[in-house]
């Protein structure tokens, strides 16, 4: 199996901001690959380089075996790209947008109808409506159609589910799974950590750097310490208390719980849990409990991040 995407030592800066720092990775053909990371991680810049829309400062990248800098005209017809923000024509209707993009790629809507049918059936009842008047979820589906209508060999989707309601997000990923079955390579970026589990492999990205690349399962497995979910009625006080607790390695709020890891690597987790509960109760907190949990992608991401940077000095 050849690589659908091959990136070596890619760097890109805008003025003093380093958007992409020495990124190297490969994506296999037919894979559903996810870039997970918050805004400013460099995902959009990376995607734009892969889509031949920007030049890297150093390093090289190949998509479908073609160099993104030198062979862009050969590559563009084979790419399906969905930019980070809505880039279709709001004053044209759903159907007009689709026909336009089909024409621009040298094909027609009628020829490719079968290809995009799974998505288009959901849109068809709105085909006369102006694209600007669609809901967020519908817009993304339309954009996906336009990216697929010319039968690309690879899909690059930059944050396709951002700003979309939870229902539509779910439906979008179900559509992606369907297209993956036909052998299409799909590269997606998302800030939603929970979407990571739907990918074959993921790359965690922050501040232009890749923190880790592996299957979602392996990423969570790599969490090197036992993780405890600690609960108390007085949430903020418990957080403050644990920050003063001498054995704390990390403690962060996660919804109603606190996710806690201990500095002592060898102690059994039950002991750790019991000691934490005792400590918090000694501080007068009530409703205290501690239970071992499996690390999520977010926990792993934060473990890879370590401590955030200091404020810059004048």
């Amino acid at each position: 199996m050849s690589d659908a995407v091959l990136v070596e030592g890619l760097c890109k800066s805008f003025g003093t901001t380093k958007a992409v720092r020495d990124v190297s990775l490969s994506v296999r053909s037919g894979e559903l690959f996810g870039f997970i990371g918050p805004d400013g991680a460099g995902k959009t810049t990376l995607f734009r380089i892969l889509a031949t829309l920007m030049l890297p400062d150093t390093g090289r990248a190949q998509v479908l075996g073609l160099d993104v800098v030198k062979e862009l005209w050969a590559l563009r017809p084979r790419l399906g790209y969905m930019p980070g923000r809505f880039s279709l024509y709001p004053d044209l209707s759903v159907e007009e947008n689709l026909r336009f993009f089909a024409a621009v790629f040298g094909t027609s809507l009628d020829e490719e109808y079968e290809q995009i049918e799974p998505i288009y059936v959901q849109l068809e009842q709105f085909k006369e409506r102006r694209a600007g008047a669609l809901s967020g979820g519908m817009k993304q589906k339309l954009a996906l159609c336009c990216a697929l209508v010319h039968r690309p060999d690879i899909l690059l989707l930059d944050e396709p589910t951002t700003g979309v309601d939870a229902v539509s997000r779910r439906e979008f990923w179900e559509l992606l799974a369907k297209f993956k079955e036909s052998g299409l390579t799909i590269v997606v970026s998302t800030p939603y950590m929970d979407e990571a589990t739907r990918c074959d492999r993921i790359a965690l990205m922050q501040s232009g750097r890749i923190l880790a690349i592996d299957t979602p399962h392996a990423v969570t497995e790599s969490f090197d310490r036992p993780l405890l979910a600690v609960r108390a009625d007085q949430r903020y006080e418990s957080l403050l208390a644990l920050r003063e607790y001498p054995h704390t390695h990390t403690v962060y709020p996660f919804g109603e719980m606190l996710h806690y890891t201990d500095a002592r690597a060898t102690l059994p987790v039950e002991t750790i849990g019991a000691e934490v509960v005792a400590f918090l109760e000694s501080r007068g907190l009530t409703g205290v409990s501690a239970a071992r949990i499996l690390a999520t992608i977010e926990d792993s991401f934060m473990a890879y991040l370590g401590t955030p940077e200091e404020a810059p000095a004048a």
């Binding site: 734009r48 031949t52 829309l53 920007m54 005209w73 563009r76 880039s87 993009f101 621009v104």
Partner: protein
């Protein structure tokens, strides 16, 4: 008061820290003063003088010598009679003429009145009379020095308008106005269209397609050409009906030339917007890049012949100048393509050059 002081400090800092805008605000008036100042010279200097002296003698030569000696005049021709005078005025080669009566000195010696006509081009009425006064002052000075008894030298001053059978100022003005208006609209249309795509993000999707820059550019210019054509038609109708400007030449030719001119302006708009992604910047660029030069240097308000040579040269680069000439020639003088082919060719060349330049500088990537 603290709050107010804080606000003042803040605004001051914003202004000081935005170097680019500051430069524009300070330099623009400076540049404009220079441009306007030179274009609108009402100075009485370097007036192109034609002398008509049928029988040169010591008096006429003396007067001619004095006129020449001032900074104000610059003799471009000396003629034996007034035959060619009209032509010189018409072509803008002469701005003022001093016409001596034959046998000038001998008439004075015999105590007869000797007439000298001072004729000035009155396209700008104020300038015209100033020029006349200057010439008349020199002549009177001579008279006084001679201590001539009456009747002596008789000066007769005339103002003449430039050759135009209809002699209506709007007829000269309106074709120029047409050029002015068409320029701005066209450049604005394409400037906005391209940058709007960049700003809304739709450009990103277009760029990743197999479309080539020339396709994108032509794809934008052609529809606006059609709309521009409608503008041309409407503007010509307006000129005819509202201002009663004659249309002595071929309507078809005028329409085609108008279309060509719109093409030039659209291409200019494309070039301006290929270099920026902001609609606002593109709009300002289009307006400043077209409005000011067209107003000052196309000959629509201020005659080009009155400008310093440098500016005259610059005006050749302004597309509007050529169209103003073409429009005036077709409408007022009824001239056909056989005489206008040079100007037409120049406009064609400009359109081609601008389109090629736009295509070249069109970024096929996002930056």
């Amino acid at each position: 008061m603290n709050a107010l002081r804080g606000l003042l400090q803040k605004e001051w800092r914003h202004i000081m820290r935005d170097r680019r805008t500051l430069a524009v605000i300070i330099l623009m008036p400076v540049v404009q003063v220079i441009l306007f100042g030179f274009a609108i010279r009402t100075d009485v200097r370097d007036i192109r003088l034609v002398v008509v002296d049928p029988t040169p003698d010591h008096v006429t030569l003396e007067i001619r010598h004095r006129l020449e000696a001032t900074d104000a005049f610059h003799t471009v021709a000396v003629l034996p009679n007034s035959e060619k005078l009209d032509g010189l005025f018409q072509r803008g080669q002469a701005e003022e003429a001093v016409v001596f009566e034959p046998q000038f000195a001998s008439r004075l010696e015999r105590g007869l009145p000797a007439r000298v006509d001072v004729i000035a081009d009155a396209t700008e009425p104020n300038t015209g009379s100033t020029r006349q006064n200057y010439a008349m002052a020199v002549i009177r000075q001579y008279q006084q020095e001679q201590g001539e008894p009456a009747p002596g030298v008789q000066i007769s001053a005339q103002l003449r308008t430039r050759f135009d059978p209809t002699a209506e100022s709007s007829h000269l003005f309106v074709p120029g106005l047409m050029a002015f208006v068409l320029t701005i609209i066209s450049a604005l249309m394409t400037a906005i269209s391209l940058t709007r795509e960049k700003e809304t993000g739709t450009m990103e999707a277009l760029l990743v397609s197999p479309l080539r820059p020339w396709q994108i550019i032509i794809g934008k210019v052609l529809p606006y050409l059609a709309i521009g054509f409608v503008s041309v038609v409407l503007v010509i109708i307006e000129a005819r009906i509202v201002f009663e400007v004659p249309l002595r030449g071929s309507v078809v030719l005028l329409l085609l030339e108008g279309l060509l001119y719109i093409l030039v302006s659209l291409s200019l708009g494309m070039l301006i917007s290929s270099r920026t992604s902001s609609q606002r910047v593109a709009m300002m660029g289009a307006m400043i890049g077209t409005m000011l030069p067209t107003m000052l240097l196309s000959g629509f308000i201020f005659p080009i012949e009155s400008m310093p040579t440098v500016l005259q040269g610059v005006s050749n680069v302004i597309p509007a100048k050529w169209f103003v000439t073409i429009a005036r020639s077709i409408m007022l003088k009824g001239i056909g393509l056989s005489y206008l082919w040079q100007e037409t060719l120049i406009l064609c060349g400009m359109a081609a050059a601008l389109l090629v330049l736009s295509t070249r500088s069109f970024h096929t990537r996002l930056e």
